[in-house]
């Protein structure tokens, strides 16, 4: 097994050694269920056989809770406790460390994401069949969700590799992801005055919400895919540089 996979495996499993992961998983499922069925009238009021609401709320749960919690420890905690020295002086390259940690964390996030498949399948296939479900938007919605998870996780990893402590990492990741999510609303608010200029456009361009909304409706735009992929790659690259920086400190 390559060192990268070994690190990823360890990282993934370490989540289950602390009660934190279980708490986060339960909490996020509970919150998602609550939002899905209750918020703004809930699923039943909408009266459509669609799980678009799921894709709308799941990224929020990921942004505000799951990703910050899962990624905060990644590098910050290892640096603080000194285990980073132990890890890096094994025959692993810095990129093995960054990628291993990324995939380890993404693994857990994706387990959560895929667990939400229970909603579309449970309600529209078996045991309940509430109506005919168009599988197209479901598939594209999940594609969007996975791309989003990768981008968010890489942002969390980057923040963790720059932050002094995991608490700091948690809050910064939280705020960055929240900002990227609400850029959309901010842009609408700014341009509502009519004198938006270029700024709202930029916000809109970067908004994770705007980027994802196409996927929810079954629109797969290569520009959106590229956007998430490049955010991911860029963050991983900067995280790699941040890890290398220790050499010259």
């Amino acid at each position: 097994m390559s060192p990268m996979l070994t690190i990823a495996k360890r990282e993934f499993r370490s989540n289950f050694d602390s009660p934190l992961a279980y708490v986060v998983i339960c909490l996020s499922f509970f919150a998602l269920g609550l939002m899905f069925f209750m918020l703004q009238g809930g699923f039943w009021q909408a009266d459509r056989s669609s799980v678009e609401r799921l894709f709308e709320y799941a990224p929020m749960g990921l942004s505000f809770l799951v990703v910050p919690v899962v990624t905060m420890r990644l590098v910050a905690e290892e640096r603080r406790s000194g285990t980073l020295e132990m890890l890096i002086t094994l025959p692993v390259s810095d990129s093995d460390v960054v990628l291993g940690k990324f995939f380890g964390a993404l693994g857990l996030v994706l387990v959560l994401v895929l667990a939400t498949l229970l909603y579309p399948f449970g309600m529209f296939k078996w045991p309940w069949v509430l109506g005919p479900l168009d599988m197209g938007p479901v598939a594209s919605g999940y594609l969007g969700l996975i791309l989003f998870s990768a981008a968010a996780t890489s942002i969390g990893l980057l923040v963790s590799s720059l932050a002094e402590s995991q608490a700091v990492a948690f809050f910064i990741t939280f705020f960055v992801l929240a900002a990227l999510w609400f850029f959309d609303n901010a842009a609408q608010y700014l341009s509502a005055g009519g004198n938006g200029g270029w700024f709202p456009t930029v916000l809109l361009y970067m908004s994770f919400q705007t980027r994802l909304s196409g996927f929810w409706r079954g629109l797969v735009d290569t520009r959106d895919i590229l956007f998430f992929v490049s955010v991911t790659l860029l963050c991983l690259l900067v995280a790699f540089r941040a890890l290398e920086r220790r050499k010259w400190a």
């Binding site: 097994m1 060192p3 070994t6 690190i7 360890r10 370490s14 050694d17 602390s18 406790s81 000194g82 285990t83 020295e85 132990m86 890096i88 002086t89 094994l90 025959p91 692993v92 390259s93 220790r246 050499k247 010259w248 400190a249």
Partner: protein, 370 residues
């Protein structure tokens, strides 16, 4: 490998911001050598080891480990090395077995190799009863054993150990030193420690650093001989004397001893027995014991103890790293004091003794400050 030099540091300099942690550190370690890496706190031992294991880069200078440059091929370097960082930072959420397995997996050991090495490592590090435990629940000493275990798991040709025995109990310490000595015959081991007795036991050679510079590098015997002094301890009964002679006062005994040819510095040592105890420094390659004995007999006193030590490594260490020590204890204040000159002569005195005097002058200086 064409050359036998396994670790080669040349001109390593490392700056942390304004602090110069290393200043042109150069040394070589060959195959089959167990080298003690000594120095006071903050001398730069860990920094050097971190450079050798490619964790940090030197500001200038270069190093080769097992023939590979630490800058160009860190992976090859790390493959050849077993490294135990200071204080053995480990993943506290893993069990000992899982941790060793994780390290073995990254090092690419296959199942059977892992099994057989694990057996050996468990035996040497005394981990048999802790394999299933979480590292977070282990005592510090056991964590250090696990750290040592992970450094040994792949049976590396080069071992770099940063204070490997600092938290171990005496039994385990002895076992680890025995093992280091045993495997050191055909491997290369660089270990840092503050325990000089350990160095005397396990190492044939020592490198002493102070304030980021190498101040001594060589066989232990050479280093011991470096200051060229021999120390004598003399104890004289303070009550009894031969008929016709008076029992010696401390002052009388001291002046008499000072008159011995070659005796350089005579200092009274504290004791709670009814005797006068002195420490006497003599030149190297001479033996003053006969003179001391004859003097005591001639005076009609009673000699209770007479001992001649070659300069201990401990004393040499203190001598060589004196600058560090002084700075740490507020040398700026002390330097103006007249006794300062004497200090150098006292350098071979007992540890407690010296500390006392240092503390005393410390109090002085703080009093002056206030």
């Amino acid at each position: 490998m064409a050359t036998d030099v396994m670790i080669e540091a040349s001109g390593l300099t490392k700056r942390f911001g304004g602090v110069r942690a290393l200043d042109k550190v150069s040394f070589e370690v060959r195959r089959g050598e167990v080298v003690g890496f000594l120095g006071p706190n903050g001398a730069g031992k860990s920094t050097t080891m971190r450079i050798l294991t490619c964790f940090i880069s030197p500001t200038t200078g270069s190093a080769k480990v097992s023939g590979h440059d630490v800058f160009d091929s860190p992976l090859e370097v790390r493959r050849a090395i077993g490294y135990l960082p200071q204080r053995a930072p480990l993943y506290t959420d893993m069990s000992v077995y899982d941790y060793l397995r994780f390290v073995a997996e990254i090092r690419g050991l296959d199942e059977s190799a892992f099994k057989s090495r694990l057996k050996k490592v468990v035996e040497v590090c005394g981990l048999a009863q802790s394999l299933g435990k979480d590292i977070g629940t282990l005592s510090h000493g056991y964590r250090q054993r696990v750290g040592l275990g992970q450094a040994l798991i792949h049976d590396p040709p080069i071992l770099i150990l940063d204070e490997p025995t600092s938290d171990l109990d005496p039994n385990e310490k002895a076992e680890v030193l025995r093992y280091i000595k045993q495997i050191g015959k055909d491997r290369t081991i660089l270990l840092s420690t503050h325990n000089l007795a350990e160095v005397e036991e396990a190492c044939a050679r020592a490198i002493i650093v102070s304030k980021g510079r190498v101040v001594a590098d060589g066989a232990l015997d050479d280093i011991r001989g470096k200051t060229g002094r021999v120390r004598y301890v003399v104890a004289i009964d303070e009550k009894r004397a031969e008929a016709g002679n008076s029992a010696p006062s401390a002052e009388a005994a001291r002046t008499a001893l000072e008159r011995i040819d070659g005796a350089r510095s005579v200092k009274e040592l504290p004791t709670d027995e009814s005797l006068h105890k002195f420490e006497l420094i003599g030149p190297q390659n001479s033996d003053l014991r006969a003179d001391i004995f004859r003097l005591v007999v001639a005076k009609g006193w009673t000699l209770l103890e007479l001992r001649r030590d070659a300069q201990s490594l401990d004393a040499v260490f203190r001598d060589l790293t004196r600058g560090d020590e002084k700075l740490d204890r507020g040398a700026g204040w002390k330097a103006s004091e007249p006794e300062d000159d004497e200090d150098d002569d006292d350098s071979t005195s007992d540890e407690d003794d010296d500390d006392d005097s240092d503390e005393a002058s410390d109090n002085h200086s703080s009093a002056r400050k206030a």
